[in-house]
């Protein structure tokens, strides 16, 4: 089996270039590629377009890339909880394209799956529909939406093997599998990297074909945004 392992995050992101289009997995701060983001922050990059459901918080995740002014444009569905983001947006420093979450997920899936466009009901009659083709099927209106692809996709999995196969855990799966498939170069970081053959082929969420580089991540912080508990 083809071995996709690279030494660490620094090696994995070494050829990311300014003005590239990136995808970053995660929902809120759950399942984000922490190691890759840290390695990207250490590089001198600018003009990036980041496709990610959220934009992190001020001092973690993509929020840190915004602080460093590496990002020219965000393509997201929800960008609350980020004061620096809002400041850059209102001042015009940052371009933002807001997309309904399901449309975002499906556009990314379409990018990986070779579907250049599809119809969805989300956004009909709203400003999301501006400039888009509207068509009726079986009595209901739909919008035509295009695929999304990226030069580099960054995903975070629970377990992975050297062939690039990935297994996610809990709701940290979210956008990661679709982004893995939509990246020209997909870089996966995992909490536990095992030799090919150790994962059950029936339990794999992302087949290795989508992953170009994989590395063992370290020091996961896994920050929680809304720690909510109930009494015993």
């Amino acid at each position: 089996m083809i071995n996709k392992t690279v030494a660490n995050a620094e090696v994995a992101v070494a050829d990311v270039f300014s003005n590239a289009v990136l995808m970053l997995g995660g929902f809120g701060l759950s399942g984000i590629p922490e190691n890759s983001i840290k390695a990207l922050l250490a590089r001198d990059l600018h003009g990036l377009t980041c496709i990610s459901n959220n934009a992190g918080v001020d001092d973690f995740g993509i929020g840190l890339m915004l602080q460093k002014r590496m990002v020219k444009k965000m393509i997201s569905s929800y960008v609350g909880e980020n004061a620096e983001f809002e400041r850059q947006l209102l001042s015009g420093e940052l371009e933002v394209e807001l997309i309904p979450q399901g449309t975002l997920a499906e556009r990314v899936r379409a990018g990986g799956a070779g579907i250049p466009a599809f119809f969805t009901p989300a956004g009909v009659g709203t400003e999301v529909a501006d400039g888009k083709e509207l068509r009726e099927f079986d009595g209901k209106l739909y919008l035509l939406e295009r695929w999304l692809k990226a030069d580099f996709a960054f995903v975070k999995a629970w377990k992975g093997d050297t062939a690039g196969n990935l297994i996610f855990k809990g709701t940290a799966r979210n956008f990661n599998p679709m982004m893995a498939a939509a990246g020209k170069i997909t870089i996966a970081e995992v909490e536990e990297l095992v030799p090919a053959g150790e994962l059950n082929p029936n339990e794999i969420h992302t087949p290795g074909i989508y992953v170009q580089r994989i590395f063992q991540g370290k020091d996961y912080e896994k920050r929680i945004e809304q720690r909510t508990v109930s009494r015993k």
């Binding site: 569905s77 807001l98 309904p100 399901g102 499906e106 009901p121 989300a122 809990g170 979210n174």
Partner: protein, 218 residues
């Protein structure tokens, strides 16, 4: 007038056995606390879970298990995990029976606005546009009027809308209101101690009032 928990409690009465339900952030999340124990329902979290359980005890908190409001949660027995594309396939495909969400405005033809205040709030629509474009039954939980006293049940939405002709029912601090298929609101119930006249006065859109309007019971 109902408080938030009472609005949630009243909405819980709309829940039917066997339903798959998506609860939005805010008051809708509270609905889970009032669903009768004898009803078998499954709560969907659009970030990739069917079967939301109670919030975890301190020792069970797992950063890899959150709901769409980014709160830590648990899984109920028989739950399933999946990715965001599958999650919205479920929603768009009409497999989720009931969606309960908050709103800033609802118009008398069922349009809803809940994602943007131009020049002020630019957080994004999240999954709301997909949900309102897809679910067969959509119930809105909100205050009847804004903080400065403006009605939120309008002839037409003034804010950028999230979806058209989709809201079926509205539960506010004052009333339970149906959106008629042909357009227009119809008053179904009033909050304890609230008069029909007060509800009419606080509703900008057309409000049909037929016969005796019962007080809500819980």
């Amino acid at each position: 007038m109902l408080n938030k928990d009472q609005i949630a409690q009243r909405i819980a009465k709309e829940v039917q056995n066997g339903q798959y339900i998506n609860l939005g952030i805010g008051i809708p999340t509270l609905v889970a606390n009032y669903i009768p124990d004898d009803l078998e329902v499954v709560l969907q979290s659009e970030n990739g879970l069917l079967g939301i359980g109670p919030f975890p005890t301190e020792d069970k908190v797992d950063p890899d298990l959150i709901n769409a409001g980014k709160q830590t949660i648990t899984m109920s027995k028989g739950s399933a995990l999946f990715n965001s594309s599958e999650s919205f396939a479920m929603i768009r495909g009409g497999h989720v029976h009931l969606t309960i969400l908050g709103a800033m405005e609802v118009s008398e033809n069922g349009d809803i606005a809940n994602w943007k205040i131009p020049g002020k709030m630019v957080k994004g629509m999240g999954g709301a546009m997909d949900l309102v474009a897809s679910a067969e039954n959509i119930i809105v939980a909100m205050q009847h009027c804004s903080k400065d006293g403006q009605s939120k049940l309008l002839k037409e939405c003034s804010l950028p809308i999230t979806g058209i002709r989709c809201v079926k029912k509205i539960v506010t601090d004052l009333a339970v209101v149906e959106v008629l298929p042909e357009g227009g609101f119809r008053l179904l119930e009033r909050a304890p101690g609230v008069s029909v006249q007060e509800i009419i006065d606080k509703t900008e859109g057309r409000m049909l009032v037929e016969g005796e309007i019962p007080e809500m019971s819980f």
